[in-house]
């Protein structure tokens, strides 16, 4: 029944359109004008619409910026993230200035120079001076932006990790597992061929540093201490995305990748600033299958004291694997 109704509505809509067009054409036959040639009246109407577009479009953009501002990610909770935020602010300001200058210019020209019978356009085919100016100016601005960007990138990618806590983040369809390197801060060797039973990460237990590794289902980090995340994947490409820390890195089967950073705000602090529900979370950000949208792990940043308390309460891999 609904299908029939929909079909009926579609047919009626088409019939209405046909009649509309026919009326239009018949009218023009009476007035003896080509219905589809553009008149001064058309130029005026469209020109004015373009003029109206300026406040409406820019107003829509500003409305979004104001209304949705509280939904955007809070300022970064990491050292390198703060630098990325500054670069973001500069770049965003720059593109907004250009956007708010060029868009009105385009639509204003469309309005201002709308056609009128008897008017003649100005024959203006090129002007070398002008063209040099608008090639050189963007070049200078971009050079500055590139240099600033590359410096930020360089610092984000090469932090001092000599004191970093090493944690492996292991991804598979559709969850995450973490492995702390333990007291020696060295991860034991692992291989996908060793994945068996409780040894879900395929850790080589014959390798000396493996014994004190700790496997967990959530990640605790001490605040203001560098951490090095090392990524592995069991099946397909996943991407470890920690938006609050400005951290993202793909987890690729057969390849080891890593990202080092220093968290600067505890979860408690963030709860005070952002609301009681706030949690740091790790998301998957590379299409990986049906439950891609629900592949997550909690991150908790706490004082070093709390962190030490938590980590010492965890069982080492050697214990968990030998427990019956």
């Amino acid at each position: 029944m609904t299908n029939l109704l929909i079909a009926l509505v579609v047919i009626l809509a088409i019939a209405a359109l046909v009649q509309l067009v026919r009326v239009n054409e018949l009218l023009s036959e009476i007035t003896n004008e080509d219905t589809n040639s553009v008149t001064d009246d058309d130029n005026n109407k469209n020109g004015i619409l373009f003029l109206l577009t300026i406040p409406l479009f820019l107003g829509f953009v500003v409305w979004q910026m104001v209304t949705w501002d509280h939904l955007l990610l809070p300022p970064a909770s990491s050292v390198h993230g703060a630098e990325i935020d500054s670069l973001m602010k500069v770049s965003m300001t720059l593109i907004l200035i250009v956007f708010f200058a060029l868009t009105p210019m385009l639509f204003f020209f469309a309005y201002k120079y709308r056609g009128k019978k008897g008017n003649t356009a100005y024959f203006f085919s090129h002007n070398n001076k002008l063209e040099v100016v608008w090639t050189v100016v963007p070049t200078i601005i971009l050079t500055a932006l590139i240099i600033y960007g590359l410096r930020t990138w360089d610092r984000a990618m090469n932090p001092d990790l000599s004191q970093a806590t090493v944690i492996e983040v292991y991804s598979k369809q559709f969850d995450w597992t973490a492995r702390y390197a333990g007291e020696d801060n060295v991860l034991g060797q692992s291989s996908y061929l060793l994945v068996k039973g409780k040894n879900t990460l395929g850790v080589d237990m014959l390798d000396e540093p493996s014994s004190d590794d700790i496997v967990t289902r959530e990640v605790h980090l001490p605040v203001n201490k560098p951490v090095l995340l090392k990524f592995r994947s069991r099946d397909v490409i996943h991407s470890a995305f920690l938006p609050h820390f400005r951290v993202q890195m793909n987890c690729v089967p057969g390849l080891s990748t890593q990202f080092g950073f220093t968290p600067t705000k505890t979860t408690e602090q963030m709860k005070l600033e952002e609301g009681e529900d706030f949690e740091y979370v790790l998301l998957c950000n590379k299409i990986c299958g049906a439950a891609h949208f629900n592949m997550q792990m909690k991150f908790i940043v706490e004082s070093e004291e709390d962190y030490n308390k938590w980590i010492s309460s965890q069982q080492s891999l050697e214990t968990t694997l030998t427990l019956k």
Binding site: L71, F124, M249
Partner: protein, 584 residues
């Protein structure tokens, strides 16, 4: 070249035609058909995103087995829809539909040639494309569903049917289909290049080529250089899937089973894929910019400003497009130093792009603009190119990309700069050359309604996506209700879906206008837009061979609009220079 007026049967005229004008129409209609399918897919997944897991009447359009038992959309099939939407829009609509239509239609007509260098190869190019289309569409109906690993088909997801059902038969068909597609576009591309270089009529020097032809030439070169890489990239994936090789696979456990593959790298796939993938962006964009240059000049009644700079910018963009592919891979674990190199080359593209925008603005300055529907869409293209191009400065910067990579910020960016710019350019082209294609005029009023409706809805869909991205929302999520941090985004999603559905309905006006005008439109005159280029010197009635008598001889560039000292505000390219007249 003796007899071009040989007798045509129905089959040689409409089906296996070697006439470039008919082949162009075949590409256009197929492209439009695919665009409707791709658009319906987006309507369906937008409905899912606004009302996650709930039934919608739109789901009745889907093949059986795509829904959960409670009537909601199946998450696997959500990914299938996203994948096919991307594939169809990128390759079928904006590559074949856009280049296929306008390269075929405009190249011979605008350079003064009777047809393409090889009409037969041209026909083959369409029919390879047609078979590719059939294969792709058939994959929608296989039991395990079509390819669903994203249009970028990264392995191992795309290589392992155990990882996602769409990587079974659906993926095989996808690869076959894309192989046929590449063959078709190579045949077409080679033909376009040879035709432009060899068959220009007397006087049509490269410096007098309309910018459309320049853009189509550069596009064809990009395609010929980059599509073979996609082909080999897909071929190796086919080997991995079917013959047990390990080009892209290593160290994998799937469904509890350890695979034998060792030593391959998915990163290799990504490099090969994006070596095509990035030039592909410009394969899509440049023809639209070429069309827009022509439409803006004609309807501003002014020469395009800075013709040489426009050609130079096209060439520079094309060259740079080959050395920026790594910006899609900043987060793959690629050496950070490479990230720096690709950031540098990527941001450079902003320079020729800025030059193009300023030149369009200078063309509009002190013009006498005639707002045909084509002109409205051309202005829309420039607007989208500005809006979407600017956010490229964020994404191209590796440091900033850390946080916006693969989020909705990217979705908003490329839909505006590549999707909207190109589809507006395509609409501009259809409205502008429809009289030449069908001898009829499209209805002007419906064209206006179509433009303003589309323009409003499109920004309503894609602009809010930037905010979703800046809130950290990843793309390709079946729903964002699994994360409390995204709960506030539901309103934005509803707004986007509202505009997406409204925008889809507006397109019906265009489709109606198109087909109604083919049969019932008012008759056109020989040169309805008072344009300078050679296609408007051909007779209104279509003939195989384009010009009944001698080919026109070109004596000036294509942009003598409102030239002082002339009788009218346009001078066609085959009108000899007046005594003492300078070329420009």
């Amino acid at each position: 070249m003796s007899d071009h007026h040989h007798k045509e049967t129905f089959i040689t005229k409409y089906i296996f035609s070697t006439d470039h004008k008919m082949i162009a129409k075949q590409f256009l209609i197929t492209g439009m058909f695919m665009a409707i399918i791709g658009m319906l897919m987006s309507a369906i997944f937008r409905v899912q995103l606004a009302n996650p897991g709930e039934y919608s009447i739109l789901y009745e359009l889907l093949p059986g087995g795509w829904l959960n038992e409670d009537g909601g959309l199946n998450p696997d099939k959500y990914l299938a829809l996203v994948t096919m939407h991307g594939t169809i829009l990128v390759f079928w609509v904006l590559t074949a539909g856009l280049s296929g239509t306008f390269a075929n239609f405009l190249i011979p007509l605008q350079i003064g040639a009777r047809d393409m260098a090889s009409g037969f190869i041209n026909m083959l190019s369409y029919w390879f494309f047609f078979i590719a289309t059939v294969v792709l569409l058939s994959s929608l109906f296989v039991e395990s569903g079509p390819a669903s690993g994203g249009w970028t088909i990264y392995p191992p997801l795309s290589a392992l049917p155990q990882a996602i059902p769409g990587s079974g038969t659906g993926m095989t068909l996808w690869l076959y289909s894309i192989t046929l597609f590449v063959v078709g576009s190579l045949l077409g591309g080679l033909n376009y290049i040879v035709t432009i270089l060899n068959l220009r009529t007397k006087g049509m020097s490269m410096q007098r080529l309309p910018l459309t032809v320049w853009a189509l030439l550069i596009t064809a070169i990009l395609g010929v250089l980059s599509f073979p890489v996609l082909l080999s990239c897909g071929l190796l994936l086919l080997f991995d899937r079917s013959f047990g090789t390990s080009f892209y696979l290593s160290d994998i456990i799937i469904n509890g089973e350890a695979l034998h593959n060792v030593g391959g790298s998915p990163i290799l796939f990504e490099h090969l894929f994006w070596f095509l993938g990035h030039p592909e962006v410009y394969i899509i964009l440049l023809p639209a910019l070429g069309i827009v240059s022509e439409v803006i000049a004609v309807n501003s009644r002014k020469p395009i400003f800075g013709y040489k700079a426009m050609v130079g910018a096209l060439l520079l963009i094309a060259f740079l497009s080959f050395i920026v592919w790594g910006h899609h891979m900043f987060m793959t674990g690629m050496n950070p130093f490479l990230g720096s190199v690709f950031t540098f080359t990527t941001l450079l593209i902003a320079i020729p792009s800025a030059v193009k925008v300023f030149n369009y603005l200078a063309t509009l300055w002190r013009a006498n603009i005639r707002f045909t529907p084509a002109m409205l869409f051309a202005i829309g293209t420039v607007s989208a190119f500005i809006t979407g191009g600017l956010t490229g400065l964020i994404l191209g910067d590796s440091a900033l990309d850390i946080n916006v990579h693969d989020t909705y910020f990217v979705v908003g960016h490329f839909h505006i700069v590549m999707g909207l710019s190109a589809i507006y350019g395509m609409f501009a082209g259809v409205y502008h050359w429809f009289p030449k294609m069908y001898g009829k005029m499209m209805n002007k009023t419906l064209g206006y309604v179509h433009f303003w409706g589309t323009f409003i809805c499109a920004y309503g869909v894609f602009f809010p996506m930037h905010f979703l991205g800046l809130a950290g929302l990843p793309r390709r999520y079946y729903t964002n209700s699994s994360f409390p941090m995204f709960d506030g985004l539901a309103d934005i999603n509803e707004i986007i879906t509202f505009f997406a559905l409204a925008g889809a309905i507006v397109q019906a006006i265009f489709i109606f206008n198109f087909f109604y005008s083919i049969f019932k439109g008012t008759k056109t005159t020989a040169n309805p837009w008072k344009s300078n280029t050679l296609e408007w010197t051909t007779p209104i009635e279509r003939i195989h061979g384009n010009w009944p008598g001698e080919l026109p001889v070109v004596t000036r560039w294509a942009y003598d609009y409102s030239k002082p000292g002339m009788d009218e505000d346009f001078v066609m390219q085959n009108v000899p220079l007046k005594e003492g007249e300078k070329e420009h």
